[in-house]
Symmetry: C2
């Protein structure tokens, strides 16, 4: 061992002990006759002291060469510090050094290794190994470890078995795009990396392993949006002989356990809300219910005047911004510009000030009167001093737009308290969703999701109305998990593939193994998967998953540190029986 103690460990009780420490030079203060060095490691900082009277010239000579981030080993005596530092646990002591060795030198780091660094995102990613030395990044990684340990311990105690499923599987064109892996031994053939272990966990249920989980990497070759990673981690779970409520209860228990163990927060039974209700009240299937500003549907009280924009709209809907009447005209114009951005896409926004004297002032005063406004206030729950914001248009679009505005305002108004946790089950998702591009229905969750009992027949006549045995767990406005009760009979699964436009041959080629398995005594089963990256980020009071991943990729799917992906040798391509269509 290069050390007898870590740099976070020594206290005044250790006075007079001879100790050996190792770590990085955080800072050197040289007063000429006296030099202090802050020595850092994963565990903390310990101050070293050198002075003309007590330190040999040779050592002082070495100390004079030390630069930031040099790795050194020192031996010395623990002494009481004259001016104590109450901010760090080792602040009562310092080390009078009698031996010093430079274990490795360091170039000047490209950014400061401090809690608040001067390094930009790109630079910190390129030198991620230096970024990880910073407290906030290191603490996030340690936090992630604590969460996964707690998840495993909880599920294992509940009788779940962690089982590793394969990474080299088969590509299925359904769903998102697969990453594929050419096989050298089976030329012309490819493995695919799993988007999730879905079919394997279902096969484990057929295999009788009635409580399965796995913390597992999954892969999706999507055009990356901000804060999406091509590889991400799931807590993947499945149970047999269960109904929907059994799954909700079990995994509500898991999240409750995490909130208590990790955050010290006790939460009672999680509320449940149907998908339809969530869309109506919040305009989204992942509502943040830590605050109000619910959507008020205004059609009944707003479509009786001469204002055509509203009259022609499928839905007119508003929210009341608490205290929003204090916004200046300029601030409101900014909000209007914000909803008109292409990312939101509203055509405009009508507003109505609720003055403290009970009167109203609106941007559509010439169409509506005070009685109208009072009704709007009633529907949106607006109080004196609030601002009502109203959007109109096609129902699904306008809800999404208003939901975006609601979240933006909540952020601005500080209503999204990271220390408050408001979980919510959203249930009764639609089984199918219409895809404008392909002009057909797709499985909203995946093709293995079972419709709610008795709704199978509706598929023929009103496919869009069929509800699924599917559920999401939403935490503070983020979907952290989702799952469903699966189909477990071959005939039902075959029918489902048929509805989804698979020919029997396609269904057999891609999922024949699963349908075969269903013929040999498949039990009723269902499950859920949590996005670990996001769950950890939210538990950590943040929303950027990249900060909780040791070596994340950038928005183009590149690892800028190791510079991957990269070209490969021609011999590698040859061995794989591949050639590039267009040479780079």
């Amino acid at each position: 061992m290069y050390r007898t103690h870590t740099n976070g460990e020594l206290r005044i009780e250790d006075k007079n002990k001879t100790v050996t420490l190792a770590g990085w030079v955080q800072k050197t203060r040289n007063k000429g006759f006296m030099v202090w060095v802050d020595l850092r490691d994963r565990y903390g900082i310990t101050q070293l002291i050198f002075d003309e009277e007590r330190t040999s010239e040779e050592i002082l000579e070495t100390v004079s060469k030390l630069g930031r981030e040099f790795v050194i080993q020192v031996t010395g005596t623990v002494i009481k510090r004259e001016s104590k530092n109450p901010d760090i646990p080792t602040g009562d002591i310092e080390i009078l050094v009698s031996e010093i060795t430079i274990l490795n030198e360091s170039l000047t780091p490209p950014f400061t290794i401090e809690d608040n660094t001067d390094g930009g995102e790109e630079l910190r990613m390129k030198y991620r190994y230096l970024d990880i030395r910073r407290n906030p990044v290191r603490e996030n990684l340690v936090f992630r470890h604590k969460v996964t340990m707690a998840v495993r311990s909880y599920l294992s105690n509940e009788g779940f078995i962690e089982i590793e499923t394969p990474y080299l599987i088969k590509s299925t064109p359904e769903g998102a795009r697969d990453f594929v892996v050419p096989s050298r031994v089976n030329k012309g053939q490819f493995y695919a990396l799993p988007q999730s272990p879905q079919t394997f966990k279902q096969l484990l249920m057929v295999g009788g392993m009635d409580k399965y989980f796995q913390i597992v990497k999954c892969f999706r070759d999507e055009d990356l949006r901000a804060d999406r990673q091509p590889e991400f981690t799931q807590i993947d779970c499945e149970m047999a002989f269960v109904e929907q409520d059994d799954i909700l209860n079990t995994f509500e228990g898991l999240i409750r356990h995490l909130l208590k163990e990790i955050k010290g927060v006790e939460i009672g039974e999680f509320p449940k809300m149907t998908y339809d209700e969530a869309m109506q009240r919040y305009g989204t299937d992942k509502p943040d219910i830590r605050f109000g500003m619910e959507l008020g549907e205004l059609n009944a009280v707003i479509q009786h005047k001469d204002f055509n924009v509203f009259n022609q709209a499928e839905l007119v809907v508003g929210i009341a911004i608490p205290g929003g009447n204090s916004f200046s005209r300029k601030e409101i114009d900014k909000l209007i510009d914000w909803v008109k951005r292409p990312q939101v896409g509203a055509l405009g926004m009508v507003y109505c000030r609720c003055n403290m004297d009970g009167s109203y002032k609106s941007s559509v005063d010439k169409f509506y009167d005070q009685k109208d406004f009072a009704q709007w206030a009633q529907v949106t729950g607006a109080q004196k001093g609030d601002l009502i914001c109203i959007l109109s248009g096609e129902t699904s679009k306008v809800r999404t737009q208003l939901s975006a505005l609601r979240m933006e305002l909540a952020e601005t108004l500080g209503l999204r308290n990271p220390d408050e946790f408001a979980p919510l089950w959203v249930i009764d998702f639609p089984l199918l969703e219409w895809d404008e591009e392909t002009k057909r229905y797709h499985a909203m969750h995946h093709p293995f999701t079972s419709p709610r009992p008795g709704q199978m027949e509706l598929l023929k006549t009103n496919p869009g109305d069929v509800k699924a045995n599917a559920y999401d767990l939403v935490l503070n406005g983020n979907e952290i998990g989702g799952g469903s009760i699966r189909i477990h009979k071959k005939e039902t699964q075959a029918k489902m593939f048929d509805y989804l436009g698979f020919t029997p041959e396609e269904a057999k080629a891609q999922f024949g193994f699963l349908m075969d398995a269903f013929q040999y005594g498949a039990p009723p089963h269902g499950g859920i998967a949590f996005g670990l990256d996001r769950l950890v980020a939210i538990l950590g009071g943040q929303e950027t998953i990249r900060d909780f991943i040791a070596f994340p990729k950038n928005n183009s799917g590149r690892d800028v540190m190791i510079d991957a992906p990269a070209a490969i040798d021609q011999t590698q391509l040859d061995e794989l029986n591949l050639q590039l269509r267009i040479k780079p």
Copy 2:
């Protein structure tokens, strides 16, 4: 929930309770007036009883339709069983069924779901989900879960942090062949799947995370040998500010903990043996030390007569087979044939019987006399009643051959007791090994391994003699882990790449990020990685890793259940800018 209890849970104390059970029909015995059904799940078997007097006709009708592996749900009363079954924990009770539902039917399974099945390997792999229903397979998977839980709990308690490293990294031609993943977004470029997280864990050490571990999938595109998998799992570990002994002590602690927790076996300090000594005494770098039969080098006592085969050999070496004098001439001829098989490759074998009367009888009696034989017996440690087997030839080859014979005989003689655990550290591995094919030295471990102190200079003059700070943990004749102290200075690493035949450009292109990192204060560090599949198998008293993997691939790297790898769509190839050189 489809059940109030599992099938392994009910006891005589539960008599008269109304319970609901679910599971698979293991067996039906129909005596006409009475029917018994064994209901199975992951937890055990419970006997159901139906009879003409107490069971409704409707239920009896349903029961008559039950086939093997049907999934059923029953409600009934726990009653005392007339003829108890002491072999199962639920053997004192049975369930008098009052309600039955067939949850799913089953075709007749292609093999019996019994501890000893009639299904062959290929069939069991194709229907792995049925194989997993069998006790031995299920128990292996549960055992694996217990081992990984114990590993995580031990390492976490020791201050190690589990950190996920990326799966989509960069291909490096050094070492085994990479699996590559074409990038769609970065056309013409490829990711590679990691053969191990080696460079990333070293970067974590540079990042100050001084105790890292990860249970992680790794990938190697090798031509598969028996019992190798293209994807396999490692317990990957790294520490900073440590020397070799610190690593050995820490991970000896882990294995000791596992043996105690999982197997109830207490083991003291693990013996250490140098690579040279292991090769000399056992002919292998992974000796099974549960039994003797050590190699005796006979050159000094055997090369003084007219037997040219021995006189011209670089090494003449023998082992004494305990009780081997009881072998018939035919059995000995079989042994000779065995060592002459191409897989072993010996040209012949000389033997010498040690008779109970103290006399010797050898296959080379015309060259040697009784005094010679007595010396052979002394060197090989042969006792009266033993058989001495002698091979000769080129040192490294003949050691490997005799080691193979030693293991084969130990297996036959029942000396490899699966309940006995004999761990051994093999240390001081050579840094380099000569590759006949490329006519140059390769890193024996990997190019990041540091030479033993002071041996760097030897590289120029006697590269084959340089020892590395590298070590393997051997358990019962299997390498279960290996690691090294790493190079942590840029100049040393650059020199090493140079010795290994990298141009500076190649070194920079492939490992530039690591050498860059070494410039910013890399601490001394080292680590180890354990092969989890093998470790679990050996702890489980077996040596076939496939039995401890939920969904293994066959010897051609195929998953015969899902039929992967497989052809992919032309559109997928197009999107990846790829085409097949030779169409299938």
